[in-house]
Symmetry: none
């Protein structure tokens, strides 16, 4: 049985408030004997650890490194293997593109062709402003194909997003991208009969792009891949009977929260801004997904000191969050982004649960090693939401 | 979704080298307060523990004691509940009998019958040489039945192996064995229509055995059971994109490795011989399954001191393995064989992962208790290969 389905039957409402504080990519490996969590001066996180239960979470299954999509789906209680978010959708979410149920989106690259041969898959990496102008030109000339509306969104350098909106779209078409230079243009092809209309519309789009851009020196064609429709996914608010708000400074995470059905609220660009937002909306919601991005960014950069600093910044602001008196507070990450690896990794993610019902007393601080020995043990990330609901007294007893 | 199938889609190739060092049945229980791993003098394993991540593995599910088949299948990344290896196949593998896709094998016992009644299911436990002579006699007289070739292989005392080779064989027949003495002979019976030919051939074989051996005093009949075909199992090398070598001194483990598709290389009879073999073939493979048998044998014997000694022998040779600079080294067992139990058990198995990407620093030594508190936590044995692939940087990120 699907765990989420099982849990949903036990969920009940009350007026508790739950905060899920995610330091993206917070888990790490020791550098000179200490991880960033260990090196950071975190009196408030450590004080909270003494009053909390600790554990570590496997984001997908052991050994599997999640991207941001699966990492957050797991944290939100969705089996990240069952629910796969297409690359086009993630690109759209990351570009702040609104996506709905009638939309099909694709990641697009400007490319250079010579005749029908792709000679540069990134069109010489144009400046972002240059490619934005070309996207605008295309948007003006291609508004509709058959009964399908076309929307274009500029991205960085050669990248942009194409959104097709209308009835009967199907994501089961192959990428319109030869993947390598020196090969001929690849046209979209339906992988199932139901996708024939989509392939036809995509190919007509590509033909028009080719015609409109024929005099461009480098950006004279486009490659489309990662076609994806808005995924069918159970609604977070319905499944967990929670009025849920998402506070995040980056589009990708706002998009992921929206995708599962949370309310994305406007906020500023700093963690302090996010805390202010949390205070403002405190009375309006039951569940707060609070996302801190920079722990991951500095992990990816291999910047130990700055990752430490972001953790310390969160620590400084923690008392303000606690002053709101959340019934349940979980502090964790969506995956590890170890500084020495400069990338996401598969290592389990430390987490702690603070509530009125914890088996507290085993730990003095919050780090990877304390969490690995924590009283919760090693669980899957997908089990954290049920655990939070339980600590919020929002899960009924199973069976008599 | 099948985990192995999921993992296989993330596997990528590189030139890293992975060693899986299995001390068969290494896990144990304390005797006078110490397990063999704790009692052994193991400076090299302990030094490695300081640089490694520790954890413990559940071979099948909690409480389930695996035989050698499921124990190793799990370690090789195959769900040991999904892939069941028939007893006939295991007996054949353990007797160094080559088994292929057209073969059906059965475990056989010489038995004593009086008229049509089985009066001794082991024919008075004949000496191994005596029964080997009778096997030879049968082999000379029964070479083929219908279009099926018959091959016979002597075993210990009353035991031998029968291999049927040809088209249209089906393992779904009942055992030709009354299981108890004083009962009439049981003939093979097809459990599905597709197995009728097999039952007919087996029964003709038994009739001929009865005829040929009618003048033997004790070994005057045979009982056949555990009919099994070569299992359909995904190929290890294909699934994990690894050139894999197996180094093992005992036929059963060579057979299990061969069954999943590893290359079994010739070696001697000692652990030292195995290390020499490892050195010789180091450049030819990516993955090395290195099997140490005697930890299990002495566990089964209830011989604490000798089990300690085998662990110390492995410890002595460890520097030679490390000198090869494996990118990933896992030290573990396939199950526990506690000395006080003189048998396999269900207890979790200690393991450690050494690589360039470990959360090291939590442990000073390698034993059951340190591993139970290790940073990896408690996982299933089947997840160890994915973890090893991750540490070898051979798994791509899942999702964007």
């Amino acid at each position: 049985m699907d765990r989420q389905e099982f849990i949903s039957k036990l969920v009940t409402r009350n007026d508790t408030k739950i905060v899920l504080l995610v330091m993206d990519g917070v888990g790490d490996l020791p550098v000179n004997g200490r991880t960033p969590l260990q090196a950071a001066r975190t009196p408030n996180l450590d004080a909270l650890a003494k009053k909390s239960e600790l554990g570590q979470a496997v984001p997908v299954i052991p050994g599997v490194t999640p991207g941001s999509g699966p990492g957050h789906l797991g944290l939100f209680g969705y089996d990240p293997i069952k629910y796969q978010i297409g690359r086009g959708i993630l690109e759209a979410l990351g570009s702040d593109v609104e996506v709905g149920e009638k939309d099909l989106v694709a990641r697009a690259n400007f490319a250079t062709i010579d005749g029908d041969t792709v000679v540069d898959r990134r069109a010489g990496r144009p400046a972002t402003e240059e490619s934005a102008k070309v996207v605008e030109k295309l948007a003006e000339e291609i508004k509709k194909i058959e009964d399908i509306e076309i929307s274009l969104y500029p991205g960085k350098e050669h990248r942009f997003v194409v959104k097709f909106t209308g009835e009967g779209l199907d994501e089961r078409i192959c990428d319109a991208d030869p993947q390598k230079t020196g090969l001929p243009i690849v046209w979209a092809e339906a992988l199932v009969p139901e996708a024939e209309k989509t392939a036809r519309v995509v190919n007509e789009f590509l033909r028009r792009v080719k015609e409109i851009l024929k005099d461009e020196e480098k950006m004279n064609f486009a490659l489309l891949r990662g076609f994806s429709k808005y995924p069918q996914i159970p609604n977070f608010e319905e499944v967990y009977k929670l009025r849920a708000a998402a506070i995040a400074t980056y589009p990708m995470y706002r998009g992921l929260a929206k995708l599962v059905g949370m309310n994305v609220v406007a906020t500023g660009t700093t963690i302090k801004d996010e805390v202010e937002t949390l205070k403002e909306i405190w009375n309006d919601y039951d569940f707060f997904f609070f996302h801190v991005k920079k722990t991951d960014s500095y992990g990816e950069d291999g910047n130990f000191e700055s990752k430490v600093h972001v953790i310390e910044e969160v620590d400084d602001l923690l008392p303000e969050i606690l002053a709101l008196n959340p019934d349940v507070l979980v502090v964790t990450g969506d995956h590890s982004t170890p500084v020495p690896m400069k990338a996401h990794s598969w290592h389990p993610v430390p987490f702690m649960v603070y509530s009125g019902y914890v088996r507290a007393g085993a730990s003095e601080k919050f780090d990877e090693f304390e969490c690995a020995r924590g009283v919760i043990g090693t669980i899957y990330a997908v089990d954290e939401i049920p655990l939070m609901l339980a600590h919020a007294m929002r899960l009924e007893k199973y069976g008599a």
